[in-house]
Amino acid sequence: QTGALLEILHCAVGIVPSSVVLTSFQVMSRVFLIWAVTHSVKEVQSEDSVLLYVIAWTMTEIIRYSFYTFSLLNHLPYLIKWARYTLFIVLYPMGVSGELLTIYAALPFVRQAGLYSISLPNKYNFSFDYYAFLILIMISYIPIFPQLYFHMIHQRRKVLSHTEEHKKFD
């Protein structure tokens, strides 16, 4: 997943036509979840929610990268395209719930250990509460998730109906 940071670079340089903001958002959220939550809070690593999002991400990535590979070879089986634009309906909510449950499970341990938090008073007059930050992140899922989900559904309708028309004309 950390290697996926390269994808942001590709978008920024221009090799890939996707939007930099959208891609960086997705990659950063995954990298954050892995390093800043699952890796940092060791007690969370045995939770079921971790299994949930790892499965969701793995399946999504397998389908997505095979989609890209076949596209480059100009030999895209309809099954891969269908899978990419249909399985997300199940996998995306699965991944999101896995992520949210993991963060929720990590919260008491963060509070206990005072992880990544700076408190007043200090020389530079700054404070940061990681606990509150995690709660803010969980709340931010609420507006963002529906937007991304409906964007994908819209894409699905566009791509799959386009293929239907193509088939008809063929």
């Binding site: 007043l120 008073p121 020389k123 530079y124 007059n125 700054f126």
Partner: protein, 363 residues
């Protein structure tokens, strides 16, 4: 929507011309010949031939099409030769009242740049029928409103935190009156900064482009207000730690702050001078005022002085959030300064000898 009745006034005008010629003096003849020669020289495309016979008193007709659907929305006629885009927008608003003049974006071709208000119709018209494409720019607010909202907010928010409104800080801690003088000084400096901004917006600045979309107002206000509450929280906190180097650090940075504020003010006054605004601007020149000598080194000294103020404020309070705010503002202002610098380089290359955009000798 409007019938093309331009043939009627043209007939009438031809009659007047012919009457003038019969009882005319030599001067009239010459004038008519002059008109005719002008017509020949400035002949437009053939399709508008019936109207361009007498360009001296002709009115323009502006056809306004929707930029996306290319459907005709309406025709604005009887547009005088000396009109500008601004007048066209006013007339358009009278025909279609749901679009205010500031919301209207007119382009000469689809996908072209939006025409500015001061452009005269005559300069873009190839014939007396002009086709413009219309785009609804969305809800617009004037720049003055944006600035006033953006700067009043921080002023009031900082004071709220300074006066230690209950529920923000722990009551027991904040009731101890021991506040380091730098906290009072910081409040004073902050208020001076924003009061100066407000007064300059009201009395000094001349804004060239009138309006901006509502989204920019929301974004700007969120940025300024959010950051002000963040920095005000830490500076006025009961557990605030004064700067490490004590009074010397505070005094030096406070004096620096005042110098930069004064400099910024004088630069803004110069920039608002009629010589330096609008399309006929000339490059601002330094005068007897020592603050304006920055113009020798830099092309946008107002940004230089502003960054100087904020850096002094950061050092004075020694607060990391202020530093983050200063950094973000510097990045934003350096982008603006680079843009302006490029425009100056194109326009006034003779003045721009060895000058940098914002920070002397760097950037």
């Amino acid at each position: 929507m409007f019938k093309r009745h331009k043939s009627l006034p043209s007939k009438r005008k031809r009659e007047i011309f012919s009457q003038g010629a019969t009882g005319s003096t030599l001067r009239n003849d010459l004038r008519n010949f002059h008109c005719l020669s002008q017509l020949v020289l400035s002949a437009g495309p053939v399709k508008s031939a019936p109207v361009s016979k007498h360009s001296k008193t002709a009115h323009f007709e502006i056809e306004i099409l929707d930029a996306q659907t290319r459907k005709q929305i309406c025709i604005v006629d009887k547009v005088m030769q000396t009109s500008t885009i601004h007048d066209v927008k006013q007339k358009f608003h009278k025909e279609c009242p749901q679009w205010y003049p500031s919301q209207v974006g007119l382009q000469l071709e689809q996908g072209g740049p939006f025409l500015k208000d001061y452009i005269a119709i005559q300069s873009i018209a190839a014939s007396s029928i002009v086709t413009l494409y219309f785009t609804d720019l969305g809800q617009q607010v004037s720049w003055t409103t944006v600035f006033l909202a953006e700067y009043t907010g921080p002023l009031l928010i900082y004071l709220l935190f300074y006066l230690r409104i209950p529920y923000i800080y722990d009551m027991k801690e904040s009731s101890r009156r021991l506040r380091h003088p730098v906290v009072h000084l910081a409040c004073l400096c902050h208020c001076i900064h924003y009061i100066r901004y407000l007064l300059e917006t009201l009395f000094v600045h001349k804004v060239s482009a009138g309006h901006t979309p509502l989204k920019n107002l929301i974004k700007g206000c969120a940025f300024y207000w959010g950051f002000t509450s963040w920095i005000a929280y830490y500076i006025n906190h009961p557990q605030y730690t004064p700067p490490s180097f004590g009074n010397r650090q505070v005094a030096v940075s406070a004096i620096n702050f005042l110098i930069c504020e004064a400099g910024n003010h004088f630069i803004n006054v110069i920039l608002a001078h009629p010589n330096h605004t609008g399309i006929n601007a000339c490059f601002p020149s330094p005068n007897y005022n020592p603050f304006t000598w920055m113009f020798f080194l830099v092309s946008c000294p107002n940004y230089t002085y502003e960054i100087g103020s904020w850096i002094s404020f950061t050092i004075m309070t020694q607060t990391l959030p202020v530093g983050i705010f200063t950094l973000l503002m510097s990045i934003q202002m350096s982008l603006w300064a680079q843009k302006k610098h490029k425009i100056y380089l194109k326009k006034f290359s003779s003045y721009m000898h060895r000058k940098s955009a914002m920070i002397p000798f760097i950037l």
